[in-house]
C-alpha cells in the first residue's frame, strides 16, 4: 500500500463518476443488458385506441392465437389488488375493467416467447368501445365539470383585498405553461425472476425501489418481504421513474409468478411516451397589485394543472407549484390556490422540480408584467421584491427565509455577466436592427429542499468492512447519472480516511436497506450521504474503542489518518487494524439511518416549515430572434449557482449545466401536442424535440458560488443540486420575451406562453405589431 498523505476521492474535490469508464466502453450494465436466463418470456402492453370510453367487450382471441404467444394478462389475472396508485387513492388500476380514460391506456399485456411476437400480437385485440366525450386540458376539464384528482391546496397570508386597495397598479392575466416529457435515453423496463414460495425478484429502472417492491407485493397479494427490487443504474430518470415503473414491475412480476419463468417488459419509445406520465401542464391565472416603485402589494394566483386520469403524484406536485409561486419574492398579501384537474390524458407525474418550475415561471411572469407596465428594467423589479429582513421574510406558507444569499449572488452575476452594459447595448442594437432583435434577462431561483411529505425525509445505509479492509457500500438512493453513488462513496472514504478505490459501490436493493424513499426532490446525497456517514461513524466508534483497549491508550489518541490509523504513538495500516478487530470479534458492519430535523408541515392549515433550507441560483441569458420566422438562438448564458460546500464540484457543475439545458428545452422546443381525438402526437424524438448540442448557448459560463456554506448541518455543509438549476432556463424564456417586446418598444408585456417555439414567438410578435 502506498503511504498517501491524502486519500483519493476526498469530499469537496472533483472526482469522476464512478462508472465513467464503464459508460464509455459500453460495459455499464442496464436492466436490458442483464443476461436472460433460459426460458425468459417477454411482455408487451396492449393499449386503448380511444380517449374516453366504456369498455363494452374485449375479444383477445386473435391475440392469444398468434404464434408464439403464451398468455394474455388482463385485470382478471391480478392475484392481489388491481391498483398501483402511489398514494393509496386506489384510482390507478394495473388494467382497467370498465372504462378507458386516455388514448394509449394499457388494457392488457401479451406474454410471448419474443418481444417482437408480443408486440405484434398486442395489435390484434378487438375492443368494443362506447365512446364518451373527453376533456384534454384543465380548462376543458373545468368547463366539463370534471373533478379534481386530489384535494387542492390553499396558501394564504395577509389580506389580499386590503393589499390591492393600497396599490396603484393591478394586472390580471393568464398564462399557459406546457408539460414536458422526461425523454430519459433508457426507457422503462422491468425484468422479473420468480423464486420459491411467493418470492419474486425484479430488476428494473426505477428511482423508487421500495415503492416498486410494495406495489408488486400489493398486486400479487403477498407480503413485502416476498419481493426484492434491484436497481444498479438507470439511463436517466428525472422523476419519470419515481412512480411510473409500478405498472411495468407489476406486469412482469404477475406473469413471472403465473408462468414460473423470467419475464421482461420493455415498451418501445412511443409507448413509453404515451403510456407514462410527464410534467404537468398548467394554466395559471395571476392577479398582481403593485406600487409605483414596482413593489408587490398583493398576489392572487390560481394554478390549474393537467393531472391526467388519476392522481399519481399530482397532489404533491401541485402543492409544490404553490410553494414556489413566490420564487424569490416577498408577497405582503397572498392567496394561492391549486386546481389539480382530472383530464383524459396520461396521468402526469414527477419531473425535476416537481411543480416548482411552473410556480417559479408564474412569479417571473408577474415581475415581467410589472417591469413592462412601469418601464423598468425587470432586474430592478426583482431586486425591489426579494425576500429581506424581518417583516419581509415570510413565505406564503409561513416559513421564514433565513438563508437568503441572493443579494450577493445576483450582484456577482450581474457584474460578471456585464448585464447592465449589455442590456443597454441590446436596446441600442434593436433600434437599428430591422429583422434580428435581441433580448437579455437575468433571473433568480430559490428552491426549497425537502420532501413536502415529511415522512419521506429519511434514509438508510448498510456498510460492511470485510476482514481484508475492503469496504462494501450500500444505501437506499438510486443512481440515474447524477453521481449519487460517487458522492456517497466520497463521504465514506472521507470518514474512514481511506482511498475511494477501496469502496465497492453496490446496486440498490430492497434486501439491504428497507423502506427507502424515492431518489427524488434533490434529496439523494443529503439523505443518503448522512445515512452512510452514520453507519461509518458506528464502525469507527467500534474500531476506536477496540484500538484504544488493545493498545491501552485513550480513545482520543486513536486517529484515522489517510489509509492508516494512529494509535497512541503507533501508526498502523487501516487493513491491519481491521484484521485485528475481526480477530477480536468486533462487528464490522453497520446499518446507518438519517432523518431530516426541524421540518414540519400542516397541509390543512397551509402552515409550517416544509423545507430544511433553500438552494439559490441565477442565470443571465441573451438571445437573438428572427422576427420574420420566430427562429432564435441563445447567444450567451452566464450562471452562478449555489450548492453550498460542494461534495464534488465537477459533478455539481454537470448537474447545473444539464439542468439549465433541460429547463431551456422545456420552455423552448419541447412541445406536447395532442390532436382533437386525444392522441399525443409528439411521442418520440422524431416529433418531440429536446435540445441538441447546437442549441447550447454560443457562450456558456457556469460557476458555483464557492463561498456558499449551508447554514444547516447537511452533509459536509453541501446543498442539493438536482432540481434547483432546472429553473435557470427561465432566463432564456424571458430574454425571448424581451426580444419580442422590442417590436413594440418594450411597452407591452408579450405574455409568451410556454414552450416558446418559433411559432409562439412569431405569433407573439404579430400580436404586438402596431401596439408600440
Amino acid at each position: 500500500m502506498k503511504d498517501h498523505q491524502t486519500i483519493s476521492g476526498a469530499v469537496h474535490h472533483d472526482r469522476q463518476h464512478d462508472s465513467a469508464i464503464k459508460h464509455v466502453t459500453g460495459r455499464a450494465e442496464y436492466t436490458d443488458d442483464i443476461a436472460e436466463p433460459y426460458g425468459t418470456l417477454h411482455a408487451y402492453l396492449g393499449v386503448s385506441t380511444v380517449t374516453h370510453a366504456n369498455i363494452k367487450g374485449i375479444d383477445l382471441s386473435a391475440v392469444r392465437n398468434a404464434p408464439g404467444v403464451v398468455d394474455v394478462l388482463t385485470a382478471a389475472d391480478v392475484p392481489g389488488v388491481n391498483d398501483i396508485s402511489p398514494t393509496g387513492k386506489h384510482d390507478e388500476p394495473v388494467f382497467p375493467t370498465e372504462k378507458v380514460e386516455f388514448h394509449g391506456q394499457p388494457m392488457f399485456a401479451v406474454i410471448a416467447e419474443t418481444r417482437d411476437t408480443a408486440r405484434r400480437a398486442a395489435e390484434l385485440a378487438q375492443v368494443d368501445y362506447e365512446v364518451l366525450p373527453h376533456a384534454l386540458d384543465p380548462v376543458q376539464a373545468q368547463e366539463a365539470g370534471y373533478p379534481m384528482v386530489t384535494d387542492p391546496l390553499k396558501l394564504e397570508r395577509g389580506d389580499v383585498a386590503a393589499g390591492r386597495k393600497g396599490a396603484a397598479h393591478r394586472i390580471q392575466a393568464q398564462m399557459t405553461v406546457g408539460g414536458q416529457d422526461h425523454m430519459y435515453l433508457e426507457g422503462h423496463i422491468a425484468f422479473a425472476i420468480p423464486g420459491e414460495d411467493e418470492d419474486v425478484t425484479v430488476h428494473c429502472s426505477t428511482q423508487h425501489p421500495s415503492e416498486a417492491q410494495h406495489m408488486v407485493a400489493h398486486v400479487l397479494g403477498v407480503a413485502n418481504n416476498a419481493v426484492t427490487v434491484n436497481v444498479r443504474r438507470m439511463g436517466g430518470g428525472f422523476g419519470g421513474k419515481e412512480s411510473q415503473m409500478n405498472l411495468f414491475c407489476a406486469v412482469a412480476a404477475i406473469a413471472a409468478k403465473k408462468h414460473n419463468r423470467p419475464v421482461k417488459i420493455r415498451p418501445d419509445r412511443d409507448q413509453d411516451m404515451t403510456a407514462t406520465g410527464k410534467r404537468h401542464d398548467f394554466v395559471i391565472d395571476y392577479d398582481v397589485a403593485f406600487d409605483d416603485a414596482g413593489r408587490i402589494q398583493a398576489v392572487e394566483g390560481g394554478f390549474a394543472a393537467r393531472c391526467g386520469y388519476s392522481s399519481d403524484l399530482s397532489g404533491p406536485v401541485t402543492d409544490r407549484a404553490l410553494f414556489h409561486a413566490d420564487n424569490a419574492y416577498f408577497y405582503p398579501n397572498v392567496l394561492l390556490k391549486s386546481r389539480p384537474m382530472k383530464t383524459n390524458t396520461v396521468s402526469n407525474t414527477a419531473f425535476r422540480g416537481f411543480g416548482g418550475p411552473q410556480g417559479v415561471v408564474a412569479a417571473e411572469r408577474m415581475i415581467e408584467e410589472i417591469a413592462y407596465a412601469l418601464g423598468k428594467d425587470p432586474l430592478d423589479v426583482r431586486k425591489a421584491n426579494f425576500y429581506g429582513e424581518e417583516g419581509r421574510d415570510l413565505t406564503p406558507y409561513h416559513q421564514k427565509v433565513e438563508d437568503n444569499i441572493l443579494d450577493r449572488l445576483i450582484g456577482e452575476l450581474e457584474e460578471n455577466a456585464e448585464y447592465r452594459k449589455r442590456r443597454e447595448e441590446i436596446i441600442a442594437i434593436n433600434k437599428e436592427s430591422k429583422i434580428i432583435k435581441k433580448g437579455i434577462a437575468l433571473t433568480p431561483v430559490k428552491f426549497g429542499i425537502s420532501f413536502t411529505a415529511t415522512h419521506y425525509n429519511q434514509a438508510g445505509s448498510l456498510i460492511h468492512v470485510y476482514n481484508d479492509g475492503s469496504i462494501h457500500l450500500n444505501h437506499g438512493g438510486t443512481e440515474m447519472g447524477q453521481g449519487l453513488n460517487t458522492k456517497v462513496a466520497q463521504v465514506v472514504a472521507d470518514a474512514f480516511q481511506v482511498d475511494f478505490e477501496r469502496i465497492k459501490i453496490t446496486k440498490t436493493t430492497t434486501e439491504k436497506v428497507p423502506n427507502t424513499s424515492a431518489t427524488a426532490a434533490s434529496s439523494g446525497s443529503d439523505l443518503n450521504g448522512m445515512a452512510a456517514l452514520d453507519a461509518v461513524e458506528q464502525i469507527i466508534a467500534r474500531l476506536t474503542k477496540f484500538a484504544a483497549e488493545k493498545y491501552e491508550v485513550s480513545e482520543a489518541e486513536v486517529e484515522f489518518l489517510p489509509n492508516r490509523v494512529r494509535v497512541g504513538g503507533e501508526v498502523i495500516p487501516f487493513d491491519t487494524l481491521v484484521k485485528q478487530a475481526y480477530m477480536a470479534r468486533v462487528q464490522l458492519s453497520a446499518a446507518g439511518f438519517y432523518k431530516t430535523p426541524e421540518i414540519h408541515w400542516d397541509r390543512a392549515a397551509g402552515k409550517g416549515q416544509p423545507f430544511f433550507y433553500y438552494a439559490y441560483g441565477a442565470s443571465c441569458s441573451e438571445v437573438s430572434v428572427d422576427t420574420l420566422t420566430g427562429e432564435y438562438r441563445v447567444e450567451r448564458t452566464d450562471i452562478l449557482h449555489d450548492v453550498g460546500r460542494s461534495l464534488n464540484p465537477i459533478l455539481d457543475k454537470g448537474q447545473v449545466e444539464g439542468a439549465f439545458i433541460q429547463g431551456m428545452g422545456w420552455l423552448t422546443t419541447e412541445e406536447l401536442w395532442w390532436d382533437g381525438a386525444g392522441r399525443l402526437r409528439t411521442h418520440a424524438p422524431s416529433t418531440y424535440k429536446i435540445p441538441l448540442a447546437s442549441d447550447r448557448p454560443r457562450i456558456f459560463n457556469t460557476g458555483l458560488a464557492e463561498w456558499s456554506v449551508n447554514k444547516k448541518r447537511t452533509i459536509k455543509r453541501s446543498k442539493a443540486v438536482g432540481e434547483p438549476p432546472f429553473m435557470l432556463g427561465i432566463s432564456v424564456f424571458e430574454a425571448l420575451s424581451m426580444a419580442v417586446a422590442s417590436t413594440a418598444d418594450y411597452k407591452v408585456c408579450p405574455r409568451l406562453d410556454a414552450p416558446a417555439t418559433p411559432e409562439r414567438v412569431l405569433m407573439a410578435i404579430e400580436t404586438l405589431k402596431g401596439r408600440g
Binding site: 463518476h17 465513467a20 459500453g26 433508457e186 418501445d268 422524431s686 448540442a693 447546437s694 418559433p758
Partner: protein, 487 residues
C-alpha cells in the same frame, strides 16, 4: 449464375457468415440479441437519438471508408460485404482506453451513461475524419446524438480534446486499413443475394442491370437505399415490406457527374457523399445540407430515396425543384426523365410505374444573374423535420426579374411550386414592391395543414415572410443581419 443465399460481413474482429437473413432484422437486434454486444443501446428505434450509433466500413470506389450509422434502422442484410465496428471494439494501446473514451472520461462527458457509447462512436468517426474539429464541426457531428443529462457542454469539450490523447494514425482502423480492405474485397458478392423466408425476403442485386431485372420480376418490391424512412415502417409501424430490394451497395447508383450544364447525382448517393459536389455547385445549399436530419442519417440516407418516397416534408425536393431539377426513372428495357415537380402527383402518389426505380437526379447549373436560397423552418434548428422548407431561385437581368422558381415543402400534400408568387415576381423590377406582392400571393398558393409541427397560420405567415427574407438578404440596400448566423 446461381444466387447467393446468405450474407458475409466483418463484425469487429470476427467473420460473420449468415444464412437465411430476414429482410427486416435490424443490425441493432442482431448485435444485442444474437451477439450479446450490449454496449450499443436502443433509445428510440427511429434514428433520432443516436444511442445505437456504430461504424460501418464499406468499399467505395475501391477504398474503405467508415461512417457513423444508426444500427436501429439499419437492416442486417444490407451489411453484406461491410465491416461493422461497435463500441466494444475500441481500445487504446496496451489495453488503455481509446483516445475518444479517455477524453470523455477526463471531461466528465457521461452522467447516466446510456447515450455515451453512441456519442463515443460518433466522435470516433469525426476524429478519424477530422482530428482537430471546430466547435461547429463537433456540433454537426453529434446532431444525431441526444443526451438528456449533461447539456452537452462536457461532451463538446471532450470532442475538442480527443487529439490530445492519441492520433488517428495509430488507430486500429488506420493501421489495419490495408488488411481490412483486402478482407472486404474478398467477401464482395459475386452474384445476386436472395435470402430470408418468403414473407420476409431480402434481395441484393448484383448491379444496376440486375436491379432492373429484380424489379421486373418483383414489381411490388420495396426498394431500400438508406433505410432511414423504410426502417421506421418496420420498427414503428410493423408493416410487412417483403420482398425488399437493397440498393445501397450498387456502385452504379453512386455516380456523381459534373457536366457543363448540370450536376447529375445517382439515386444511391448519400447526403454525405453528395455534400462536396453540392457545396461547390450550389453554395447556398451548403448550410441547408447540414440541417438534413443528423449525421448518421446523412451517412445512410440518399437523395434518390428522399425523392422516391414522395413525402411532402422531405428536405431536398423543394430546393431541387426550385433549381429546375429533373429525375430519371429506369426500368428493365428503358428509362424516362421528367421535371421533378411532375414526379409528385398527390399525397403518397408518385409517377413511378411498376418496375421503375429512381436512377438519378439532374440539377442544371446556375446561370448568370441567378439568385438562389434554401430555407428550412423547424421547431428545433438541427435534426428536425421542417414545418416549412423553401427553395427560391430567381433570375435578374438589368434590374428586372426575368424568371422565378419557388417551391415549398410542408405547405401542401406534395412538394409544390408557388405559382402565384412566381407570377407576382416575373417581369417586375427587383425591389421590395415585387417581393411584397409575392409574399401576399404565396398565401393564396397554399392551404397548409395544422399539425404538431406547426399551425396552418404559422406555415402561411412564415412562408410569406421567407419571400421577404429572400429580398432583404439579397438586396444591397439592406443594413444589418437578416438571418441568424449558423455558427
Amino acid at each position: 449464375m446461381a444466387h447467393q443465399t446468405g450474407i458475409r460481413f466483418l463484425l469487429n474482429g470476427q467473420d460473420i457468415v449468415l444464412e437465411d437473413v430476414k429482410a427486416t432484422t435490424t443490425l441493432l437486434d442482431f448485435l444485442r440479441l444474437e451477439q450479446r454486444l450490449t454496449g450499443t443501446k436502443e433509445g428510440c428505434a427511429e434514428g433520432d437519438c443516436g444511442a445505437c450509433t456504430v461504424l460501418v466500413g464499406r468499399l467505395h470506389g475501391g477504398a474503405l471508408r467508415y461512417e457513423a450509422v444508426n444500427a436501429c434502422i439499419r437492416f442486417l442484410a444490407s451489411l453484406n460485404g461491410c465491416h461493422v465496428v461497435t463500441v466494444e471494439h475500441l481500445s487504446g494501446p496496451k489495453g488503455r482506453l481509446h483516445p475518444v473514451q479517455q477524453a470523455m472520461v477526463e471531461y466528465h462527458g457521461s452522467q447516466c451513461g446510456f447515450c455515451t457509447p453512441g456519442f463515443v462512436m460518433s466522435l470516433y468517426a469525426l476524429w478519424m475524419e477530422n482530428a482537430q474539429p471546430t466547435e461547429t464541426q463537433v456540433e454537426t457531428a453529434v446532431q444525431g446524438n441526444l443526451c438528456r443529462c449533461t447539456g452537452y457542454e462536457p461532451i463538446v469539450k471532450a470532442a475538442l480534446a480527443v487529439n490530445q490523447y492519441g492520433t488517428p494514425a495509430n488507430d486500429y482502423l488506420t493501421t489495419e486499413r490495408e488488411a481490412l480492405t483486402a478482407k472486404l474485397k474478398a467477401i464482395q458478392p459475386q452474384a445476386r443475394v436472395v435470402t430470408g423466408p418468403g414473407d420476409d425476403r431480402a434481395i441484393l442485386p448484383l448491379d444496376a442491370a440486375d436491379l432492373a431485372q429484380v424489379l421486373a420480376e418483383n414489381p411490388k418490391a420495396t426498394i431500400v437505399a438508406g433505410s432511414t424512412d423504410v426502417g421506421l415502417w418496420v420498427t414503428k409501424f410493423m408493416k410487412p415490406i417483403s420482398p425488399v430490394v437493397f440498393v445501397s451497395h450498387l456502385e452504379e447508383l453512386k455516380a456523381i457527374e459534373l457536366t457543363d450544364e448540370a450536376l447529375i447525382i445517382g439515386a444511391g448517393v448519400t447526403y454525405t457523399e453528395s455534400e462536396a459536389a453540392i457545396r461547390d455547385a450550389f453554395p447556398h445549399l451548403s448550410a441547408y445540407w447540414d440541417r438534413i436530419a443528423g449525421w448518421q442519417v446523412r451517412n445512410m440516407g440518399t437523395i434518390g430515396g428522399n425523392i422516391a418516397n414522395g413525402s411532402p416534408i422531405g428536405d431536398t425536393p423543394p430546393v431541387l425543384i426550385s433549381l429546375g431539377a429533373e429525375v430519371t426513372l429506369q426500368k428493365k428495357g428503358g428509362s424516362r426523365t421528367l421535371p421533378l415537380e411532375e414526379f409528385f402527383i398527390d399525397y403518397g402518389k408518385q409517377d413511378r410505374e411498376p418496375g421503375d426505380f429512381v436512377a438519378s437526379i439532374r440539377i442544371p447549373l446556375r446561370r448568370d444573374g441567378q439568385i438562389d436560397a434554401a430555407y428550412k423552418i423547424s421547431k428545433r434548428r438541427d435534426e428536425d423535420i421542417s414545418s416549412v422548407a423553401a427553395g427560391i431561385s430567381v433570375e435578374v437581368a438589368d434590374g428586372v426579374i426575368t424568371a422565378a422558381r419557388i417551391a415549398f415543402g410542408g405547405m401542401a400534400a406534395t412538394p409544390k411550386r408557388a405559382a402565384g408568387a412566381e407570377v407576382a415576381l416575373v417581369g417586375q423590377p427587383w425591389g421590395e414592391a415585387a417581393f411584397d406582392a409575392a409574399a401576399e400571393a404565396v398565401k393564396q398558393d397554399f392551404t397548409p395543414l395544422s399539425d404538431w409541427r406547426a399551425s396552418a397560420d404559422y406555415r402561411a405567415l412564415s412562408a410569406s415572410n421567407l419571400l421577404r427574407r429572400f429580398y432583404l438578404e439579397h438586396d444591397a440596400a439592406t443594413a444589418g443581419a437578416v438571418r441568424l448566423a449558423v455558427a
